[in-house]
Amino acid sequence: MKTYLLSALLVSGLLASPAQAKLRIFACEPEWGSLVHELAGDKVDVDVATSAMQDVHQIEAKPSLIAKIRRADLTVCSGAELEVGWLPQLVRQSGNQKVASGDGVFSAASQVTTLQKPAKLDRASGDVHPQGNPHIQMDPYRMLTVAKALTARLALLDPTNAAFYQQRLADFSARWSTATKKWEAKAAPLKGRNIVVQHDAWIYLTTWLGIKQVGALEPKPGVPPTSAHLASLVAITKSSNTLAIIRAAYQDPKASEWLSERTGVPAVALPFTVGGNPESKDLFGMFDSTIDILLGAAK
């Protein structure tokens, strides 16, 4: 009986891995799922592991995610240890050798220069990322760099569609560059303005648009706001002619609304990723919406 069972397992295992099926991609975050869609259209199947309403630092290694990783040919994730608390566990439990290492692993942060690499690694400084700030999706230039590298990877893993991916990239790059110029022109009034953030996740956006971060609700990355720290923020927020108090769509609004009430500075939720609000249907929508919300706060 055991023999039959095991042979049945083996046979089904073999049948389940046909040589040339559609490339299956596991995207850790919605922005990468959206980028894959821009570059590969329906030539690939994409599973997106998390939603815009979830804190990607704190995902559980759920059975459904193991099942998704099990069938993936490629994982596309932010990297820089953003997913360190769950992705390695998923890969190990799935037994899928294709995404254990090598070409089946694509880390967006490894394709670009990251900012805020800590000079000193100490957990007393909060949830610091040794390889720098992983939230690179908020910079359109880095996004384009990642798109190019991702296209190369898709072409490597799926050579029959290489030309298709290249053509999609050319199309995306053209639209993206046009959009980037449009965003920069639109966001010109934001230059030099000050913001307070909830989590230290906006360095790429602020650097790109020339916005200054004057404070953070989390005293240290990943550490929940404390009342003493919030009290000290009130003064700095008031005195800095602050444009807005920024949080990501998934974050609890309580702390930022508290600060907003005491300072009169508007608290706004930015999409942070695709799906973070109804306007952020894709990467273009995400940037459109982000800039619109910031401009709305400036009025």
């Binding site: 023999t3 095991l6 397992l9 083996l10 295992g13 389940a16 891995s17 939603s51 309403m53 979830q54 804190d55 704190q58 559980e60 290694a61 059975p63 459904s64 193991i66 099942a67 099990r70 360190v84 608390g85 190990r92 439990q93 037994g95 050798q97 254990a100 290492s101 090598g102 394709q111 670009v112 220069t113 900012l115 957990r123 949830d127 390889q131 760099t145 590298a149 190369a152 072409a155 490597l156 050579p159 029959t160 290489a162 991916y165 290249q166 000050n194 360095i203 602020t206 650097t207 790109w208 200054k212 971060q213 004057v214 404070g215 990943g222 003064a235 700095i236 005195s239 800095s240 609890d252």
Partner: protein, 456 residues
């Protein structure tokens, strides 16, 4: 059969690498071209960024100049803004540079668990006995007063492209003796195709839910009574495990293990392969906010004398179910976890009295146990829960009993970060018809070093 199975696995692995090696060169050239293009583009983008960054830096400098002599808070805010701007000057060469060039770069991930507790028992732990269930191994009440419990050191790393290795040492203090135990020391394959993983060495069996989880991930200070009674807290031994994950939307995991049979419920390891297990787990999501995991497992043991004096065949059947709900699927910020595991053990053998081996008597019959626990995650820093334990003793054999032990436990946990917690637990334990043990425990538990990735 088992040999041929392994051979088949190896063949498949070889076949896979062979096909990979014969990829059409033309496509590789195209891919390389694409990569070069991407690198060139990257370079260009970086140059742009350098230009943008130095412009930003200049602007900031100009502003700082302009603000010289400004009042203190304004200056502070400018510095806060200037800091990230200064960091925007990227170093293009660092993109390709290795992370570290020293000899420790390949050190395995090291994590350390420190743990300590203070327990107040209303019943002297030395006087504690459990009707129908002999106390075995670590499945005993915690010590009275201060206790270090077990400290754990774990090393883990990929060995090469085909193997992963992990070593977990547990250090315990028992009176004047310091005990160093090998909790786990195993290697995993990472290159078998089709979702197979082979594990060899010493490891915790994958039966049930809690058994494969290290105790520092538990939600309560101690293990459920059923784990204490049937597997002496946790069953681990030396052996092999083959595991397969199905390529389906539903998570399905099937596998089996063969163990030496040194540890309870095994004992003497007469043949050195005396305990076998089979397990099946399935799980999935219901919407975004609900996730579940359930399993059926069995463990067959043939022993010539285990810790409780049993010789013969015993079979443990185990059913486990876990349901988690969290708003938007953010499990760390709130939600409810409900879990239960049901144990049943059939014994067919002899009881040998440790004091007088001549007083053999038959030991057959069935004993059962269950626990149900509910955990309420209040927010990122607080968690509370309740657990109900119940055991049913066998009505025959040397430990036959009409009384069924029951225990209620409640806990409240404060989680300062992912790496440290304080837990307060109260248990009301009725292990036998006459005694009640009310236990109040305060525990701290911390983890140092590598960021752990925990199972569901």
């Amino acid at each position: 059969m088992k040999k041929s199975l392994l051979a088949l696995c190896v063949c498949i692995a070889l076949a896979n690498s062979a096909t990979a090696a014969t990829t059409v060169p033309q496509s590789q050239i195209e891919a390389l071209e694409a990569r070069i293009k991407a690198l060139e583009a990257n370079d260009e983008a970086l140059r742009k960024q350098v230009a943008a960054a130095s412009a930003a830096l200049d602007a900031t400098r100009a502003e700082l100049e302009a603000m010289k002599g400004a009042t203190a808070p304004e200056l502070a805010s400018t510095q806060a803004g200037a800091e990230p701007a200064a960091e925007t000057a990227p170093e293009p060469e660092s993109v390709a540079a290795p992370e570290s060039a020293n000899g420790n770069a390949f050190n395995p991930a090291i994590s350390i668990i420190l743990n300590g507790s203070y327990s107040d028992h209303s019943l002297d732990p030395d006087q504690y006995y459990r009707s129908g269930f002999p106390l075995v191994g670590e499945g005993v009440p915690s010590a009275q007063g201060f206790s270090l419990g077990e400290s754990e050191i774990s090393f883990a790393a990929n060995i090469d492209e085909k193997f992963y290795g992990q070593l977990t040492l547990a250090i315990g203090v028992d009176g004047d003796n310091t005990e160093l135990g090998v909790e786990e020391a195993f290697i995993d394959t990472t290159a078998l195709p089709s979702g197979f993983t082979l594990r060899a060495g010493r490891f915790f069996s994958n039966i049930g839910y809690l058994n494969s989880h290290h105790t520092h991930t538990d939600k309560f200070f101690d293990r459920p009574l059923a784990y204490q009674a049937f597997v002496a807290n946790q069953f681990g031994d030396t052996g092999v495990q083959l595991r397969w994950v199905a390529p389906t939307d539903l998570f399905v995991e099937l596998g089996g293990e063969l163990f030496r049979g040194q540890n309870y419920p095994g004992g003497t390891a007469v043949h050195g392969a005396d305990v076998g297990t089979l397990f099946a787990h399935a799980g999935g999501d219901v919407g975004v906010e609900n996730s579940w995991l359930a399993g059926l497992s069995m463990l067959k043991s043939n022993t010539d004398g285990s810790e409780d004096g049993f010789s013969g065949d015993s079979t443990l059947y185990l059913a486990d179910a876990t349901w988690k709900w969290a708003p938007e699927g953010n499990f760390k910020d709130g939600g409810v976890t409900v879990r239960s595991e049901y144990f049943m053990v059939d014994r067919d053998g002899l009881y040998t009295d440790p004091l007088d081996p001549l007083l053999d008597q038959p030991w057959t019959g069935t004993s059962r146990g269950v626990y149900v626990e509910g955990i309420y995650r209040i927010n990122r820093t607080w968690e509370t829960g309740y657990r109900y334990d119940h055991l049913w003793a066998s009505d025959s054999g040397p430990y036959a009993s009409d009384y069924n032990p029951v225990r209620h436990s409640v806990m409240l946990t404060w989680l300062n970060s992912e790496f440290s917690l304080l837990r307060l637990q109260y248990s009301h334990d009725q292990p036998n018809p006459t005694d009640v043990d009310n236990v109040l425990t305060l525990q701290y538990q911390v983890s140092l070093g590598a960021h752990g990735a925990h199972k569901f």
